[in-house]
Symmetry: C2
Subunit: 199 residues, 2 copies
Protein backbone atom coordinates (compact mmCIF):
# COMPACT_ATOMS: atom_id res chain seq x y z
CA UNK A 1 0.00 0.00 0.00
CA UNK A 2 1.25 3.44 -0.86
CA UNK A 3 0.53 6.24 1.52
CA UNK A 4 -0.80 9.21 -0.36
CA UNK A 5 0.33 12.35 1.34
CA UNK A 6 -1.68 15.51 0.80
CA UNK A 7 -0.07 17.61 -1.88
CA UNK A 8 2.81 19.74 -0.72
CA UNK A 9 2.96 18.42 2.83
CA UNK A 10 5.06 15.28 2.50
CA UNK A 11 6.13 14.74 6.12
CA UNK A 12 9.73 14.05 5.30
CA UNK A 13 9.97 17.29 3.36
CA UNK A 14 8.37 19.30 6.10
CA UNK A 15 10.53 17.67 8.75
CA UNK A 16 7.57 16.17 10.56
CA UNK A 17 8.38 12.53 9.98
CA UNK A 18 8.54 10.42 13.11
CA UNK A 19 11.41 8.06 13.62
CA UNK A 20 9.49 4.97 14.71
CA UNK A 21 12.48 2.86 15.67
CA UNK A 22 13.66 5.47 18.14
CA UNK A 23 10.21 6.21 19.52
CA UNK A 24 10.28 3.53 22.19
CA UNK A 25 13.21 5.15 23.98
CA UNK A 26 12.89 8.80 23.12
CA UNK A 27 11.38 10.70 26.01
CA UNK A 28 8.39 12.84 25.19
CA UNK A 29 9.85 15.68 27.17
CA UNK A 30 13.20 17.39 26.90
CA UNK A 31 16.18 16.51 29.08
CA UNK A 32 15.73 19.69 31.11
CA UNK A 33 12.02 19.05 31.63
CA UNK A 34 12.60 15.41 32.56
CA UNK A 35 15.17 16.46 35.14
CA UNK A 36 12.68 19.04 36.41
CA UNK A 37 9.91 16.44 36.69
CA UNK A 38 12.17 14.12 38.69
CA UNK A 39 13.24 17.00 40.91
CA UNK A 40 9.62 17.98 41.46
CA UNK A 41 8.72 14.42 42.45
CA UNK A 42 11.64 14.32 44.92
CA UNK A 43 10.56 17.67 46.37
CA UNK A 44 7.03 16.31 46.83
CA UNK A 45 8.39 13.20 48.54
CA UNK A 46 10.44 15.40 50.89
CA UNK A 47 7.36 17.52 51.64
CA UNK A 48 5.48 14.30 52.42
CA UNK A 49 8.23 13.35 54.88
CA UNK A 50 8.04 16.78 56.51
CA UNK A 51 4.23 16.68 56.71
CA UNK A 52 4.32 13.19 58.24
CA UNK A 53 7.10 13.98 60.71
CA UNK A 54 9.53 11.54 59.21
CA UNK A 55 12.47 13.80 58.36
CA UNK A 56 13.41 17.36 57.41
CA UNK A 57 15.09 17.23 54.02
CA UNK A 58 15.04 20.23 51.72
CA UNK A 59 16.36 21.25 48.35
CA UNK A 60 19.09 23.84 48.30
CA UNK A 61 18.10 26.71 46.01
CA UNK A 62 20.07 27.03 42.78
CA UNK A 63 22.87 29.51 43.38
CA UNK A 64 22.49 32.62 41.27
CA UNK A 65 25.14 35.26 40.62
CA UNK A 66 23.26 38.54 40.78
CA UNK A 67 24.75 41.34 38.71
CA UNK A 68 22.07 44.03 38.59
CA UNK A 69 19.10 44.82 40.79
CA UNK A 70 16.56 47.51 40.01
CA UNK A 71 15.34 49.02 43.29
CA UNK A 72 12.97 51.52 41.66
CA UNK A 73 10.00 49.16 42.11
CA UNK A 74 10.70 46.76 44.96
CA UNK A 75 13.83 44.74 44.27
CA UNK A 76 13.74 43.39 40.75
CA UNK A 77 16.76 41.43 39.60
CA UNK A 78 17.44 42.48 36.00
CA UNK A 79 20.73 40.70 35.33
CA UNK A 80 21.87 37.44 36.85
CA UNK A 81 23.41 34.12 35.90
CA UNK A 82 23.08 30.53 37.07
CA UNK A 83 26.02 29.17 39.05
CA UNK A 84 27.05 25.57 39.60
CA UNK A 85 26.02 24.07 42.92
CA UNK A 86 29.25 23.36 44.79
CA UNK A 87 27.49 20.88 47.04
CA UNK A 88 24.58 18.55 46.29
CA UNK A 89 20.96 19.52 45.79
CA UNK A 90 19.44 17.96 48.91
CA UNK A 91 20.30 17.72 52.56
CA UNK A 92 18.65 17.51 55.93
CA UNK A 93 18.14 15.58 59.15
CA UNK A 94 16.82 12.04 59.65
CA UNK A 95 16.87 10.36 63.06
CA UNK A 96 19.41 12.92 64.26
CA UNK A 97 21.77 12.06 61.43
CA UNK A 98 22.93 14.34 58.65
CA UNK A 99 21.72 13.18 55.25
CA UNK A 100 22.95 14.48 51.89
CA UNK A 101 22.08 13.42 48.38
CA UNK A 102 22.00 14.31 44.73
CA UNK A 103 19.16 13.37 42.38
CA UNK A 104 20.06 12.58 38.78
CA UNK A 105 18.08 11.38 35.81
CA UNK A 106 19.52 9.58 32.80
CA UNK A 107 18.01 8.46 29.48
CA UNK A 108 20.94 6.18 28.74
CA UNK A 109 19.92 2.59 28.00
CA UNK A 110 23.06 1.06 29.44
CA UNK A 111 24.78 3.13 32.09
CA UNK A 112 24.90 6.22 34.30
CA UNK A 113 27.47 8.65 32.89
CA UNK A 114 29.72 10.19 35.55
CA UNK A 115 30.11 13.25 33.33
CA UNK A 116 26.86 14.25 35.05
CA UNK A 117 28.75 14.78 38.29
CA UNK A 118 31.13 17.73 38.72
CA UNK A 119 34.32 17.13 40.72
CA UNK A 120 33.27 19.55 43.45
CA UNK A 121 30.25 17.34 44.19
CA UNK A 122 32.52 14.32 44.59
CA UNK A 123 34.76 16.35 46.91
CA UNK A 124 31.74 17.52 48.90
CA UNK A 125 30.37 13.98 49.28
CA UNK A 126 33.76 12.66 50.33
CA UNK A 127 33.90 15.28 53.08
CA UNK A 128 30.36 14.49 54.19
CA UNK A 129 31.28 10.80 54.48
CA UNK A 130 34.46 11.67 56.41
CA UNK A 131 32.35 13.55 58.96
CA UNK A 132 29.92 10.67 59.43
CA UNK A 133 27.08 11.90 57.25
CA UNK A 134 24.77 9.68 55.22
CA UNK A 135 25.33 10.34 51.52
CA UNK A 136 23.93 8.84 48.33
CA UNK A 137 22.60 9.41 44.85
CA UNK A 138 19.06 8.86 43.66
CA UNK A 139 19.40 7.86 40.02
CA UNK A 140 16.37 7.73 37.78
CA UNK A 141 16.97 5.36 34.86
CA UNK A 142 14.33 6.50 32.39
CA UNK A 143 14.86 3.59 29.96
CA UNK A 144 14.37 1.03 32.76
CA UNK A 145 11.56 2.99 34.39
CA UNK A 146 13.40 2.43 37.69
CA UNK A 147 15.09 4.62 40.28
CA UNK A 148 18.01 3.46 42.41
CA UNK A 149 19.60 4.65 45.62
CA UNK A 150 23.35 4.35 45.16
CA UNK A 151 25.61 4.99 48.18
CA UNK A 152 27.98 7.92 47.64
CA UNK A 153 30.90 5.83 48.90
CA UNK A 154 30.52 3.58 45.84
CA UNK A 155 30.23 6.53 43.42
CA UNK A 156 33.23 8.29 44.96
CA UNK A 157 35.50 5.25 44.61
CA UNK A 158 34.23 4.52 41.06
CA UNK A 159 34.83 8.18 40.13
CA UNK A 160 38.36 8.09 41.53
CA UNK A 161 39.27 5.06 39.45
CA UNK A 162 37.43 5.98 36.26
CA UNK A 163 36.38 9.65 36.38
CA UNK A 164 35.40 9.91 32.72
CA UNK A 165 33.45 6.68 32.51
CA UNK A 166 29.91 5.52 33.18
CA UNK A 167 28.53 3.16 35.78
CA UNK A 168 26.95 0.25 33.83
CA UNK A 169 23.38 -0.53 34.89
CA UNK A 170 24.35 -4.03 36.05
CA UNK A 171 26.90 -2.46 38.40
CA UNK A 172 24.30 0.09 39.48
CA UNK A 173 21.85 -2.71 40.30
CA UNK A 174 24.48 -4.74 42.12
CA UNK A 175 25.59 -1.84 44.34
CA UNK A 176 22.36 0.15 44.46
CA UNK A 177 18.90 -0.36 45.90
CA UNK A 178 15.64 -0.09 43.97
CA UNK A 179 13.50 2.78 45.28
CA UNK A 180 9.85 1.93 45.82
CA UNK A 181 7.64 4.23 43.77
CA UNK A 182 4.10 5.09 44.64
CA UNK A 183 1.56 7.83 44.59
CA UNK A 184 2.58 9.57 47.80
CA UNK A 185 5.39 9.72 48.56
CA UNK A 186 6.36 9.38 44.93
CA UNK A 187 9.84 8.06 45.83
CA UNK A 188 9.87 6.41 49.22
CA UNK A 189 13.62 6.32 49.84
CA UNK A 190 13.77 6.57 53.66
CA UNK A 191 13.16 2.82 54.27
CA UNK A 192 16.26 2.22 52.12
CA UNK A 193 18.23 4.71 54.23
CA UNK A 194 17.31 2.62 57.29
CA UNK A 195 18.30 -0.59 55.54
CA UNK A 196 21.55 0.61 53.98
CA UNK A 197 22.93 3.11 56.50
CA UNK A 198 21.26 2.66 59.87
CA UNK A 199 21.11 -1.07 60.46
CA UNK B 1 37.80 79.31 74.32
CA UNK B 2 35.81 80.21 71.29
CA UNK B 3 36.32 78.22 68.18
CA UNK B 4 36.69 80.46 65.20
CA UNK B 5 35.26 78.77 62.16
CA UNK B 6 36.52 79.88 58.77
CA UNK B 7 34.10 82.31 57.20
CA UNK B 8 31.11 80.73 55.48
CA UNK B 9 31.84 77.15 56.50
CA UNK B 10 30.34 76.90 59.96
CA UNK B 11 30.00 73.11 60.32
CA UNK B 12 26.45 73.23 61.67
CA UNK B 13 25.32 75.32 58.73
CA UNK B 14 26.97 73.06 56.21
CA UNK B 15 25.57 69.92 57.87
CA UNK B 16 29.00 68.57 58.62
CA UNK B 17 28.78 68.63 62.40
CA UNK B 18 29.41 65.30 64.06
CA UNK B 19 27.00 64.09 66.69
CA UNK B 20 29.53 62.99 69.27
CA UNK B 21 27.07 61.44 71.70
CA UNK B 22 25.65 59.12 69.03
CA UNK B 23 28.95 58.26 67.46
CA UNK B 24 29.75 55.43 69.81
CA UNK B 25 26.73 53.39 68.77
CA UNK B 26 26.06 54.40 65.19
CA UNK B 27 27.39 51.81 62.78
CA UNK B 28 29.55 53.15 60.01
CA UNK B 29 27.90 50.87 57.47
CA UNK B 30 24.25 50.37 56.53
CA UNK B 31 22.09 47.63 58.03
CA UNK B 32 22.24 45.60 54.81
CA UNK B 33 26.03 45.93 54.56
CA UNK B 34 26.50 45.05 58.22
CA UNK B 35 24.42 41.91 57.76
CA UNK B 36 26.47 41.10 54.66
CA UNK B 37 29.75 41.59 56.55
CA UNK B 38 28.59 39.25 59.33
CA UNK B 39 27.43 36.68 56.77
CA UNK B 40 30.77 36.91 54.98
CA UNK B 41 32.65 36.34 58.24
CA UNK B 42 30.49 33.29 59.01
CA UNK B 43 31.08 31.94 55.50
CA UNK B 44 34.82 32.35 56.00
CA UNK B 45 34.63 30.56 59.35
CA UNK B 46 32.76 27.69 57.67
CA UNK B 47 35.35 27.54 54.91
CA UNK B 48 38.04 27.38 57.60
CA UNK B 49 36.21 24.41 59.17
CA UNK B 50 36.01 22.68 55.77
CA UNK B 51 39.68 23.36 55.00
CA UNK B 52 40.73 22.04 58.41
CA UNK B 53 38.49 18.96 58.28
CA UNK B 54 36.41 20.03 61.24
CA UNK B 55 32.91 20.05 59.71
CA UNK B 56 31.00 20.58 56.46
CA UNK B 57 28.66 23.50 56.98
CA UNK B 58 27.49 25.59 54.04
CA UNK B 59 25.23 28.52 53.34
CA UNK B 60 22.05 27.81 51.47
CA UNK B 61 21.83 30.12 48.46
CA UNK B 62 19.14 32.79 48.60
CA UNK B 63 16.07 31.44 46.85
CA UNK B 64 15.23 33.41 43.73
CA UNK B 65 11.98 33.32 41.79
CA UNK B 66 13.05 33.41 38.16
CA UNK B 67 10.52 34.94 35.79
CA UNK B 68 12.41 35.52 32.55
CA UNK B 69 15.57 34.02 31.09
CA UNK B 70 17.17 35.21 27.87
CA UNK B 71 18.73 32.22 26.13
CA UNK B 72 20.01 34.21 23.16
CA UNK B 73 23.46 34.56 24.75
CA UNK B 74 24.01 31.76 27.22
CA UNK B 75 21.35 31.82 29.94
CA UNK B 76 20.94 35.35 31.23
CA UNK B 77 18.26 35.89 33.85
CA UNK B 78 16.55 39.19 32.99
CA UNK B 79 13.67 39.19 35.46
CA UNK B 80 13.70 37.61 38.91
CA UNK B 81 12.78 38.36 42.51
CA UNK B 82 14.17 37.48 45.92
CA UNK B 83 12.16 34.96 47.91
CA UNK B 84 12.12 34.39 51.66
CA UNK B 85 14.22 31.46 52.87
CA UNK B 86 11.74 28.95 54.31
CA UNK B 87 14.49 27.29 56.30
CA UNK B 88 17.59 28.81 57.89
CA UNK B 89 20.68 30.07 56.10
CA UNK B 90 23.19 27.46 57.26
CA UNK B 91 23.28 23.71 57.70
CA UNK B 92 25.67 20.83 57.52
CA UNK B 93 27.32 17.92 59.29
CA UNK B 94 29.48 17.92 62.42
CA UNK B 95 30.62 14.67 64.07
CA UNK B 96 27.91 12.80 62.16
CA UNK B 97 25.20 15.06 63.53
CA UNK B 98 22.97 17.39 61.59
CA UNK B 99 23.58 21.03 62.45
CA UNK B 100 21.35 23.95 61.46
CA UNK B 101 21.61 27.63 62.31
CA UNK B 102 20.64 31.13 61.42
CA UNK B 103 22.99 34.11 61.67
CA UNK B 104 21.50 37.45 62.64
CA UNK B 105 22.96 40.85 63.36
CA UNK B 106 21.29 43.56 65.44
CA UNK B 107 22.19 47.19 66.17
CA UNK B 108 19.77 47.38 69.08
CA UNK B 109 21.39 48.51 72.33
CA UNK B 110 19.08 46.52 74.55
CA UNK B 111 17.60 43.40 72.93
CA UNK B 112 17.30 41.07 69.95
CA UNK B 113 13.99 41.73 68.17
CA UNK B 114 12.12 38.55 67.20
CA UNK B 115 10.55 40.46 64.32
CA UNK B 116 13.80 39.47 62.60
CA UNK B 117 12.64 35.85 62.51
CA UNK B 118 9.83 34.74 60.20
CA UNK B 119 7.41 32.12 61.52
CA UNK B 120 8.48 29.55 58.93
CA UNK B 121 12.00 29.64 60.37
CA UNK B 122 10.64 28.91 63.84
CA UNK B 123 8.59 26.03 62.39
CA UNK B 124 11.64 24.72 60.56
CA UNK B 125 13.84 24.84 63.67
CA UNK B 126 11.17 23.13 65.75
CA UNK B 127 11.07 20.27 63.23
CA UNK B 128 14.87 20.04 63.18
CA UNK B 129 14.89 19.75 66.99
CA UNK B 130 12.14 17.11 66.88
CA UNK B 131 14.30 15.00 64.55
CA UNK B 132 17.36 15.25 66.79
CA UNK B 133 19.26 17.93 64.93
CA UNK B 134 21.48 20.55 66.56
CA UNK B 135 19.94 23.99 66.05
CA UNK B 136 20.87 27.49 67.16
CA UNK B 137 21.22 31.15 66.32
CA UNK B 138 24.40 33.13 66.03
CA UNK B 139 23.45 36.64 67.08
CA UNK B 140 25.84 39.52 66.50
CA UNK B 141 25.13 42.35 68.96
CA UNK B 142 26.81 45.29 67.25
CA UNK B 143 26.40 47.68 70.19
CA UNK B 144 28.07 45.21 72.56
CA UNK B 145 30.67 44.14 70.03
CA UNK B 146 29.83 40.55 70.98
CA UNK B 147 28.33 37.54 69.24
CA UNK B 148 26.31 34.86 71.03
CA UNK B 149 25.29 31.32 70.25
CA UNK B 150 21.71 30.95 71.41
CA UNK B 151 20.11 27.46 71.31
CA UNK B 152 17.08 27.30 69.01
CA UNK B 153 15.08 25.53 71.73
CA UNK B 154 15.24 28.72 73.81
CA UNK B 155 14.30 30.97 70.88
CA UNK B 156 11.40 28.71 69.87
CA UNK B 157 9.87 28.70 73.34
CA UNK B 158 10.39 32.46 73.76
CA UNK B 159 8.80 33.05 70.35
CA UNK B 160 5.79 30.90 71.25
CA UNK B 161 5.14 32.89 74.41
CA UNK B 162 5.94 36.35 73.07
CA UNK B 163 6.13 36.27 69.25
CA UNK B 164 6.18 40.05 68.78
CA UNK B 165 8.68 40.87 71.47
CA UNK B 166 12.45 41.07 71.78
CA UNK B 167 14.89 38.98 73.77
CA UNK B 168 16.59 41.39 76.23
CA UNK B 169 20.39 41.19 76.18
CA UNK B 170 20.52 40.06 79.81
CA UNK B 171 18.31 37.09 78.86
CA UNK B 172 20.44 36.48 75.78
CA UNK B 173 23.58 36.41 77.94
CA UNK B 174 21.96 34.14 80.53
CA UNK B 175 20.78 31.59 77.95
CA UNK B 176 23.40 32.07 75.28
CA UNK B 177 27.13 31.49 74.96
CA UNK B 178 29.71 34.07 73.94
CA UNK B 179 31.39 33.12 70.67
CA UNK B 180 35.16 33.47 70.65
CA UNK B 181 36.26 35.83 67.91
CA UNK B 182 39.62 35.73 66.23
CA UNK B 183 41.40 36.20 63.00
CA UNK B 184 40.79 32.77 61.52
CA UNK B 185 38.25 31.38 62.04
CA UNK B 186 36.56 34.72 62.58
CA UNK B 187 33.78 33.14 64.66
CA UNK B 188 34.92 29.92 66.29
CA UNK B 189 31.53 28.48 67.25
CA UNK B 190 32.22 24.72 67.05
CA UNK B 191 33.79 24.45 70.55
CA UNK B 192 30.51 25.88 71.86
CA UNK B 193 28.56 23.26 69.89
CA UNK B 194 30.60 20.60 71.71
CA UNK B 195 29.98 22.25 75.05
CA UNK B 196 26.28 22.97 74.63
CA UNK B 197 24.99 20.09 72.54
CA UNK B 198 27.45 17.20 72.57
CA UNK B 199 28.52 16.85 76.20
Amino acid sequence: MTIRYPKGVHPKASGEVKKRTAKKYSPKISTANRGMAFEKAINESNQYYIDHDRAVITKRPTPINIVKVDYSKGAKITQAYFETQSTTDYNGVYKGRYLDFEAKSTVSRTSFPLSNIPKQQIDHLERVLAHGGIAFFLIQCVSLNETYLLPASYVVSFWKERPRESIPFDELKKNGYLVKEGYSPRYDYLPLVDEVFLK
